[in-house]
């Protein structure tokens, strides 16, 4: 695997190395060049044995010249702040870092030219630093306020190690109707089962996840139930990966039958994305299976489906992307994911979609019907 795993003890050292190299180049009036991993589909490798996208050898080189001197100066400036955070253990969001840098600049008029006009400008530099050092933003103690991932279970016990070394233990069965909310620091969780857990279910819609739990899903099934809230955030991705690695239970994804869900939500959960090549190894769960809605379910349960509105910008784009994916995306091209590619092809051909909530139409008077279908599908092995 091309990836080196780094933790933040090594980052100061690597940073210093890079800076030293730049200085030496400068001394010789040679243009320093910074190399960052190219994060795009054409540099994404999918090996079915690994199960997620890994980076190829393509690099993006930034050479020092008049046009790049601003970007490089900004990168070195922010790098210094990030290294300071590692040193002190301070934690920040990107937005806070934006303000910290503005504060630094305010206090030192000489730095004025570096000033960021808005947050996307400083975010870009943070991403650039991460790609250059091949590290996660989280390694620099920079966390996003990740959404989604609300988790319910009667058997799961989480032990969290805090930055100061203390630990906290959370027994999810004691939380009542409140969910457990994972944060984006996977390395700090240790998971235990109070009783054998049969499976984990990730539900695309947060609302539907709540409904299933409220109607007794986790009481009747020894399971972990997670709401993904659309495209999974880093926190959700890392959390599902942690569950997969530590508990080794079967994992199923339940969401809409449409191109967007399949490519943007499910594929990201299972194999990561091209934009996050350097982090997929900790942010994807290759064992997750697609439980539904499957094209066959429509007939089997007589579900309500409806035509894709091609004029709708998002749906139209998703269809177009589905077509591209079949042609270019190594994930859907691999024969290991033949079944998923098959669904994409079905979507392209029939131009119909079916929502996860349509399970509620099967027996309108029975609130547990969706649960029954889900459990039955798992039992029968009716997933892809």
């Amino acid at each position: 695997m091309a990836l080196r795993k780094r933790n933040n003890d090594q980052i100061p050292e690597i940073s210093r190395e890079i800076c030293l190299r730049m200085l030496t180049d400068l001394e010789r009036a040679k243009r320093p060049v910074l190399h960052a991993t190219k994060c795009s589909l054409d540099n994404a490798i999918y090996n079915p044995k690994i199960g997620f996208f890994t980076p190829g050898d393509k690099k993006v080189a930034t050479e020092l010249n008049v046009s790049s001197v601003k970007k490089m100066s900004r990168a070195i400036f922010l790098l210094e702040i990030l290294l300071r955070n590692i040193d002190s253990g301070a934690v920040n969001t990107k937005r806070e870092l934006y303000y910290i840098s503005k504060g630094e600049i305010k206090g030192n008029p000489r730095l004025k030219p570096l000033d960021f006009a808005d947050q996307p400008e400083s975010d870009d530099i943070i991403d650039f630093i991460c790609e250059m050092l091949e590290v996660y933003r989280e390694d620099f103690n920079c966390y996003a306020n990740d959404r989604g991932g609300q988790t319910y279970s009667q058997q799961l016990i989480v032990t969290e190690t805090l930055t100061d070394g203390e630990t906290a233990t959370i027994d999810l069965s004691k939380l009542g109707t409140s969910p457990f909310q994972p944060k984006n620091r996977p390395q700090n969780f240790t998971l235990k089962m109070s009783e054998r857990i049969d499976f984990g279910l990730i539900v695309e819609s947060e609302g539907t996840a709540n409904t299933l739990v409220a109607n007794g899903f986790t009481k009747r099934n020894k399971s972990i139930l997670i709401g993904s809230q659309g495209v999974p955030s880093n926190a959700v991705r890392a959390w599902v990966k942690t569950i997969q690695d530590q508990l080794k239970i079967p994992l199923y994804f339940f969401g809409d039958l449409d191109a967007y869900t399949l490519q943007n939500i499910f594929r990201t959960l299972k194999a990561g994305s091209a934009a996050s090549l350097i982090r997929n190894q900790d942010y994807s769960a290759p064992d997750v299976r697609f439980l539904g809605v499957l094209p066959d379910d429509i007939k089997k349960y007589d579900l309500f489906d409806y035509p894709v509105r091609e004029q709708d910008a998002q749906e139209g784009r998703a269809l177009k992307k589905a077509d591209d994916a079949l042609k270019n995306d190594p994930f859907f091209q691999d024969k290991k994911n033949k079944g998923l590619a098959e669904i994409l092809r079905w979507l392209l051909k029939n131009k119909r979609r079916c929502e996860q909530q349509s399970y509620f139409s099967v027996a309108p008077k029975d609130p547990t019907m969706p649960e029954k279908i889900i459990v039955e599908k798992i039992k029968r092995g009716d997933f892809v």
Binding site: S15, R16, C19, L20, M22, L23, D25, L26, E27, R28, A29, K30, R31, L64, N65, V66, S67, V69, K70, M72, S73, I76, F77, L79, E80, L83, R110, L111, P113, L114
Partner: protein
């Protein structure tokens, strides 16, 4: 100048100008028709009433001066004199004074009080006025809103005293009524002063504003000296920048391929009883002997007034299928690149500009000539995201309404201005502190609607305008490129000064490197970046050389 002598033309013109629905009304109710439909001739709102009155009077002054080889001096005064009788209106006074040939006392009622009395109608020349409607409509509006006619003072050359009178329109009979006529002393050899008091609203700025009309008119009339006083403003003077009175070329006979069947038949009525072949040869251009041979012999020998509609149709369609030389382009006129370059300086402080005069050409079988002037205004340098200010002209009259359908705007948006260094959102006008003036001159401009505010966007015309714009764009881009290169160099130098030291200091802090390393790294960095600026310097020199070359050519 004898608008009176045109009785015959006026009769014909009634048939042509009046909409079909009013066919039944007698010729004496022409004035009635227009007085009920003033909105069709520019009086469709309070603000437009002011603009149209001004425009009709100024266009007439310019036409008259041009006709008589006089360098025009025009003074305009617009004032608010009270509240209007219509809701939300003001009582406005518009005075336009010229040093033109003046109007004979006997002609005053016809000029200001009778519709379709024009010395210019249907002559196929590029005059501003064409129909004999304009100024009588202004009189009617004043009469309807403030019960006062046109107050006129006029003096022709050789007259010792001037005539002063008030003219009203006799709406029932389409006749002018002369009132308060007296002869007075006037301290000038010849000229005309017209005054209208009426209800309207003053809009000075914006696309449809008075200023746009005045400055636009100044731009395409380098030979005019303008004085104008707008409400609550000082008197402004715009001096002439050219001493040449434009020669309006004589009309050429119409080209048969430019006509529709109806026009073709109407054209024959002008000739009375002549043989058809004589009518064709005299009444049209480009119908030579070779072409005549291809036409039905039987018809050619008959008298034209005895032809039936079916005969006309047969004749017409055989003429349409004969190959003819394209119409002559000698009937158009141009302002000229030289005069435009000077005139555009009158629009404000300008840091650079480019002008293009295309050769006369034929579009849709009609002669046209396109001219373009683009200038960057210093005062607006901050307005980089605003669309450019478009000035449109048809026969040197500014067009200020219905911009989006106009051939000129179609042509502007079809050009890729980004390649000349201007910002331009997709399929839109380019952006920046520019004035983009496009003049279309043709004896037969096809307008999109009756109020003559948009030029019909035919493919051929749009393409011709587009070519002119692209040439102007290329010239402009030399200026922009040279400026960009200069800015580029400037920015590079600034970048080096600003970021060089910060970068090295940051690296030194992170690595804990020694001071001597810092010094050497700084020197090295300056060397590297210095190479970049010398490259930028070379590019700037090349761009400046190209611009100089162009300016040199323009001076020749």
């Amino acid at each position: 100048m004898a608008p009176a002598g045109n009785a015959k033309t006026s009769d014909k013109s009634q048939e042509k100008t009046q909409p079909k629905s009013s066919k039944s009304i007698s010729s004496s109710s022409t004035a009635e028709y227009f007085s009920k439909n003033l909105q069709q001739v520019g009086f469709s709102s309070q603000t437009k009433a002011v603009l149209t009155t001004l425009k009709e009077a100024v266009d007439n002054s310019l036409d008259a001066c041009e006709e008589h080889g006089i360098l025009p001096e025009i003074k305009v005064v617009i004032e608010r004199v009270g509240v209007g009788s219509i809701k939300n209106s003001e009582r406005i006074r518009v005075v336009v004074e010229d040093n033109g040939p003046g109007i004979d006392g006997e002609d005053l009622p016809k000029v200001f009080g009778e519709y379709l009395a024009s010395s210019k109608f249907g002559r196929g020349r590029c005059t501003r006025g064409q129909q004999g409607i304009g100024i009588s409509a202004a009189t009617t509006w004043a009469q309807l809103t403030s019960a006062s006619g046109a107050k006129v003072i006029s003096k022709t050359k050789g007259q010792r005293k001037a005539v002063s009178a008030v003219i009203e329109v006799d709406i029932k009979n389409n006749k002018g009524i002369l009132k308060n006529r007296e002869t007075i002393e006037w301290d000038r050899p010849n000229g005309t002063r017209v005054e209208f008091v009426f209800d309207g609203r003053v809009q000075v700025n914006g696309e449809a504003g008075l200023l746009n009309y005045l400055l636009g008119t100044a731009l395409v009339n380098p030979h005019v000296t303008f004085q104008y006083q707008l409400p609550d403003q000082e008197l402004q003077t715009v001096e002439r920048v050219s001493d040449a009175v434009p020669q309006i070329p004589e009309a050429t006979e119409p080209h048969p391929h430019t006509m529709k069947l109806g026009e073709f038949i109407a054209h024959s009525h002008l000739f009375g009883r002549v043989k058809t072949d004589v009518w064709l040869k005299r009444g049209f251009s480009r119908l030579g002997d070779a072409a005549m041979d291809a036409l039905p012999k039987g018809l050619l020998n008959q008298n034209v007034d005895s032809l039936s509609n079916a005969d006309f149709e047969k004749l017409f369609s055989s003429i349409q299928s004969v190959e003819l030389k394209a119409p002559s382009t000698s009937s158009v006129l141009s302002i000229g690149e030289d005069a435009l370059s000077k005139s555009i300086q009158r629009l404000g402080k300008i840091d650079f500009f480019s002008v293009v005069t295309r050769k006369p050409t034929i579009c849709d079988f009609k002669p046209v000539q396109i001219e373009v002037a683009i200038a960057r205004l210093e005062a607006r340098l901050s307005e980089n995201d605003a669309p450019v200010q478009v000035l449109r002209f048809a026969n040197r009259v500014p067009l200020q309404f219905d911009k989006s359908a106009c051939a000129i705007v179609h042509a502007i948006t079809s050009v890729n201005w980004r390649s000349y260094g201007l910002g331009q959102p997709k399929e839109s006008l380019p952006q920046g502190p520019y004035i983009m003036a496009v003049s279309v001159v043709s004896p037969f401009i096809k307008f999109k609607n009756a109020s003559k505010e948009t030029i019909d966007a035919s493919d051929e015309l749009v393409e011709e305008i587009r070519r002119a714009l692209m040439q102007a764009g290329q010239k402009l881009s030399r200026h922009i490129k040279a400026e960009e290169k200069a800015e580029d160099l400037e920015e590079k130098k600034r970048y080096i000064e600003q970021f060089g030291p910060i970068l090295v200091e940051g690296l030194v802090r992170i690595t804990g490197a020694k001071p001597e390393i810092k010094k050497r790294a700084e020197e090295g960095l300056m060397k590297i970046l210095g190479r970049d600026t010398s490259h930028a310097e070379k590019e700037l020199n090349a761009a400046t050389a190209r611009l100089e070359e162009q300016l040199e050519k323009e001076r020749e």
